[in-house]
């Protein structure tokens, strides 16, 4: 580990209490995890009950963010177990662990859990909720009660969706295509209703974020000083607000289709099943950007901090997020090339699909250029960021391949597509989320995790992921269809399937290590200094670790950009002078960087808003 800058010795000679192993100047005064908390006189079960009730009724965005984090992690674990089951079943030809009907239900549930319960709320609702108000310099999101309501609506929706299991389950795949979804088991009603309800949660979160970014920025926090994470959250929120109502009405119509036989989507009643696909994908394609855009934001933060350098092309990266969000509404038809939609629309959708490659390419280019001549610091978060860069590029390029009309006719609904969207969703979003989680873990919990195990897990995840999914590109191009229970006509695929299944085990072990490392750090981890990575955004420079219940003692005054490490961390710069290096040196994570806290009195100035 590079330790260029310790002015303070690593083991401070200042005498201190046993529990407080914080570096000097980093002792937390306030801590949202414990504040306000019941008084010391409340003890035993009553104390537990008081704390539990306080958490359940909190309107603190940080606590809501953590509750979301736990929820989406549980959903990810559930979806992951289902994924392992799917892979296990495909390991041998014929029945391995479950029958065909069970298999249909398992992969459907895997899709629904991963998409609606995990990925859509993953980064925005957990990291976004935690960080967004701090990053703009506000005390909370604009509507704290709505924020809590959104969490509970998500919970209710998740329960309703999973309750579908007890009413026959769902075997339609996560896309609910009509007319099959109209005639199959009743679980569809519950799943559809659950998706409808969770849509409200998504809308409320997005709405809250947009208003917070527009109206609650601290003095000096101009749009050009907004951290790139917030730009991407902003773009995500736009998509959430604009697209989610359409999945709502789609699910409502599907519900009525089943209950009242209204015949809008059912061809037997004169309806048009392809219209359902239009409705579904008008939400679900933009939803793909709901899933990936926050990941872009996290990667921008990681690239800046761990290259110790300003993010190259700040405006281009920021605006490309918005461009992706808006262009994302014009391409949904590329999911429907083989559905029987008119060739006119197929051609146009294919054309616009290629355009999405431009802003994505701008981002990749700028991230790589950020590392160029920087002091790239290979801590765990950066390893995940590099993994993201590698995997997402593969996912994106194969996306262009399947976006080509002619190629897609061949590859549609094969494992090629499965591999493509796993490279984007898992290789993109999940890697970014893991990177972000490692990066902000000290901020959120006040504890340092084990770097060594972090790096080991990153390596295992990288290897396991590629082992699992790269092979699926090959299988798909050879014709292995998606969602099939068996492959009797293609016996030569068996070894490939086996390799893929073994890869999924490696991936599972890697993710287990992440989990254990996190939990271990909660109990045994070293206390984190205020700014272990030397970040320059407000959550690192203007608040304590973990943050105060009210985020800031005083409203911060923002005087520099989010990646202006020289201005934000002058102490760090002073310590190595005269070497002429372009990049800012890396700090020692066990000691961190003393925080710089420019602030003004409350209420004297208002944020300028657009």
């Amino acid at each position: 580990m590079a330790t260029l800058t310790p002015t303070q010795p690593r083991t401070s000679t200042v005498p201190r209490k046993k529990r407080s192993a914080y570096p000097e100047g980093h002792e937390p005064v306030h801590n949202f995890l414990r504040e306000p908390g019941p008084g010391p006189e409340v003890t035993g079960f009553k104390r537990f009950r008081a704390i539990a009730w306080e958490w359940m009724t909190t309107v603190d965005h940080k606590r809501i963010g953590l509750m979301y984090l736990v929820s989406v992690s549980a959903a990810f674990a559930l979806g992951g177990i289902l994924a392992l089951l799917v892979r296990l079943e495909l390991m041998t030809q014929g029945e391995t662990v479950m029958g065909p009907d069970a298999y249909n239900q398992v992969f459907t549930l895997h899709g629904i859990v991963m998409v609606f319960l995990f990925i859509v709320p993953s980064i925005p609702a957990s990291l976004g909720n935690f960080l967004l108000p701090i990053m703009v310099g506000a005390k909370d999101v604009a509507f704290p009660k709505l924020n809590l309501a959104s969490f509970y609506i998500y919970g209710i929706g998740a329960i309703v969706a999973v309750a579908g299991l007890f009413f026959g389950g769902v075997d339609t795949g996560w896309t609910f295509y009509t007319p099959y979804s109209k005639s199959t088991v009743d679980g569809v009603l519950f799943m559809g209703l659950g998706v409808f309800i969770m849509g409200f949660s998504s809308i409320l979160t997005g709405l809250n974020f947009i208003v917070t970014i527009h109206k609650m920025r601290a003095p000096g926090m101009t749009w050009n000083r907004l951290p790139l994470f917030l730009w991407s959250i902003y773009a995500t929120s736009i998509v959430q607000v604009l697209a989610t109502p359409v999945i709502g009405i789609t699910m409502l119509l599907l519900f009525l289709e089943r209950v009242l036989q209204i015949g809008i989507f059912d061809p037997a009643l004169g309806g048009d099943p392809v219209l359902f696909q239009h409705f579904f994908w008008f939400y679900s394609h933009p939803a793909v950007y709901i899933m990936i855009l926050p990941a872009f934001g996290v990667i921008s933060e990681l690239m800046g901090t761990f290259s110790r350098q300003r993010v190259y092309g700040y405006r281009a990266v920021a605006l490309s997020s918005v461009a992706i969000a808006l262009l994302g509404f014009l391409v949904w038809g590329h999911h429907m090339f083989t559905s029987g939609q008119s060739p006119v629309s197929s051609v146009i959708f294919s054309l616009i699909t290629f355009l999405i490659g431009i802003p994505s390419g701008i981002k990749i280019f700028n991230w790589i250029w950020t590392m160029y001549k920087g002091s790239v610091w290979l801590q765990t978060p950066m390893l995940y960021a590099l993994t993201f860069l590698f995997l997402f590029t593969i996912g994106g390029v194969t996306g262009i391949m399947v976006g080509a009309l002619a190629a897609d006719i061949h590859l549609h609904d094969t494992y090629f597509v499965v591999a493509h969207f796993h490279y984007v969703m898992m290789g993109g979003t999940v890697m970014a989320m893991l990177g972000g989680l490692h990066y902000w873990w000290p901020k959120m919990t006040g504890k340092l995790y084990s770097e060594r195990w972090g790096k080991i897990s990153a390596l295992l995840v990288f290897l396991g992921f590629n082992m699992t999914f790269f092979i699926q590109f090959i299988m798909g191009s050879q014709g292995m269809p998606r969602r099939y229970y068996d492959y009797p006509d293609m016996p030569w695929l068996e070894p490939l399937h086996q390799a893929s299944t073994m890869g999924s085990w490696v991936l599972g072990v890697g993710l287990m290590i992440v989990l254990i490392n996190g939990i271990h750090s909660l109990f045994r981890g070293k206390p984190a200094p205020g700014n272990p990575w030397g970040g320059a955004t407000l959550e690192w420079t203007a608040t304590t670790t973990p943050p105060d219940h009210h985020n800031f003692k005083r409203t911060p005054l923002v005087t520099h950009g989010p990646y202006d490490y020289n201005a934000a961390l002058p102490h760090l710069r002073e310590q190595v002078s005269g070497d002429g290096a372009a990049a800012v040196p890396v700090p020692d994570i066990a000691v961190g960087v003393p925080q710089n806290e420019p602030s003004i009195e409350d209420g004297t100035r208002q944020p300028d808003s657009l």
Binding site: P28, A243, L260, A268, G270, T555
Partner: protein, 315 residues
Amino acid sequence: MASPAPTTADPNAHEAHGHDGDGHHGDGHHGDVMLRGHDGQLHPANLQHHFISAEQQFESAKLGMWLFLVTEILLFGGMFVAYAIYRSWYPDLFDQASLELDTAWGAFNTLVLLGSSLSVAWAIRAAQMDNRKLLVRLLWLTVMLAGVFMVVKYFEYTHKFEKGIFPGQYFKLAEGTPTIAELTAGTAVLPGFADATAEGAESEAATPSLEETEAAIAEAAGEHGETHAGEKGHGEKGPIFSNPRAGIFFSIYYVMTGIHGLHVIIGIIAISILAVKAQRGRYSSVYYTPVENVGLYWHVVDIIWIFLFPLMYLI
């Protein structure tokens, strides 16, 4: 400031933290009341702790409401898209079906909703002018007009149910008209067309396609409709009743007006709550954000009806 963490906190701060969830800002009585916040400064009672100023809070609430309205517009937008697509496919069906809707009642309801929009807009003005009496009256007037709208809607619905106009599959077609389900399944028995279909079956060795059958039915329905066009009275069945796809129009009609009606009911509840609170003097020119926001919601409900009325009843 070099030392990162402030070590001396205001002793009052912690006490103020305790009740910020439902404490001083909740539903303050009058905008002028000032309370001491956790930072030791005085704030208007309606100002929530995380906002810097009342103006910021008002602007935020209003923007939040607008974003919510965006979702409402897109929710209804989905249904308008369904309407547009099916209208472009079956223009005649929509022409015939709109004859079954009572234009007079529709127009009356439009005027009622426009009136309620006016009254709610005027209510906001009254709140801004600190005219509490007028505010309360106008809010109750809005509720009343919305109630009239729903009553008319109720009679429209029941009248249609009596005529057998139900959504989708449950639409009661005229005697002898095959349903769309039978047609798509190819099991339709066509009285009067038996010869034609038999001939078709012989000549092409296959049953006639859906389009051919439908064309034949439409032709017959046109004749049927013409014979009765002059003597169209109560209980008389219009041409729509011999159109096998009639259910589609009425599905869209019931879904759109039904969800719109649901919004009207939600509006009635919200405005009633506002009216009761206004009676208690909660709103003034300093703080009337809920009135403003519910008003915005109500106008969008109105705008949606402004589009629904001509599309459903007139053309």
